[in-house]
């Protein structure tokens, strides 16, 4: 069985490919880790806050 690549974010960091975010990422078969990079948890929270702000604008909240 092909070994599945699992990425683990460093302490205080979050992994992302620019679209998905996580602390632990089980890559699908054939996906390489190249497109993933780390951002800080603070940066991640800022992204989540901005997404929520955009959603609130979208939904007229």
């Amino acid at each position: 069985m092909e070994q599945r690549i699992v990425l683990y974010a460093s302490d205080g960091m979050v992994l992302t490919d620019g679209e998905h975010y996580g602390k632990v990422i089980f890559l699908a078969d054939g996906v390489t880790p190249d497109k993933y990079y780390e951002i800080t948890e603070t940066e991640y929270q800022a992204i989540l806050d901005e997404q929520e702000r955009q959603n609130n604008l979208l939904y007229g909240l």
């Binding site: 996580g22 990422i25 699908a28 959603n55």
Partner: protein
Amino acid sequence: MSIAEKLQTIAENSPKVYEAGKAKQEYDFWKELQDRTENYSGSTYLFAGEVWIDDNFKPVQDIVLKGNSNYAFSNNITNLKRILENRGVKLNTSNVTSAMYLFYYSDSTEVPELDLSKATTIYAIFYQSPKVQSVDKLILSNKCTNYSSAFTNATGLTHCIFEGEIVATLDIHWSTLLDKASITSLINTLSTTTSGLTVTLSKTAVNAAFETASGLADGSTSAEWLALAQTKSNWTITLS
């Protein structure tokens, strides 16, 4: 019986007659409402709005949603499942084709089974619904290709059994209390034939659900979880 006795009997029965009349009027209203709306091709906004609360939600026959059913239950009912059970009626969603915002900002702690096997989208279905704690079953099919914002801020969700086939990227990381049965069913429902897709779960939920001993919160590294994740190696599984 004397006139006085008759008048006494009438007075004693008057409240019962009043209540019976009120109940009949209520029944007639709901029968008419439901019969008429069942003839529509869609159920958009059917029971949407703050006006709908437990006290006035009194269906008298099965509720049949169909077609475009966006926002249909975006309301202040606090336990849809219990109310339907108490009234002996069911919710039929098997002919819903769009379930966008279906339980948007819902106050319902318990939601009955939702057969959305004909739905092409469940966009924002539980968006901003932290009060929703359980969904008996969510049946999806490969017709559904839009899961965006489906569980955004569904922070109270502890139980939601998935069934059918999931064929699009799904993010449920806000549901940090999701139980083991729900997570297992979600993974099992991921399509085996797609590629390039991602499912994002809460690491907290996985750690708790699959922990190897009470309190260890080590589920994401457990053999059981790793074996489950491996069953869908065509998916990128992200724990957030």
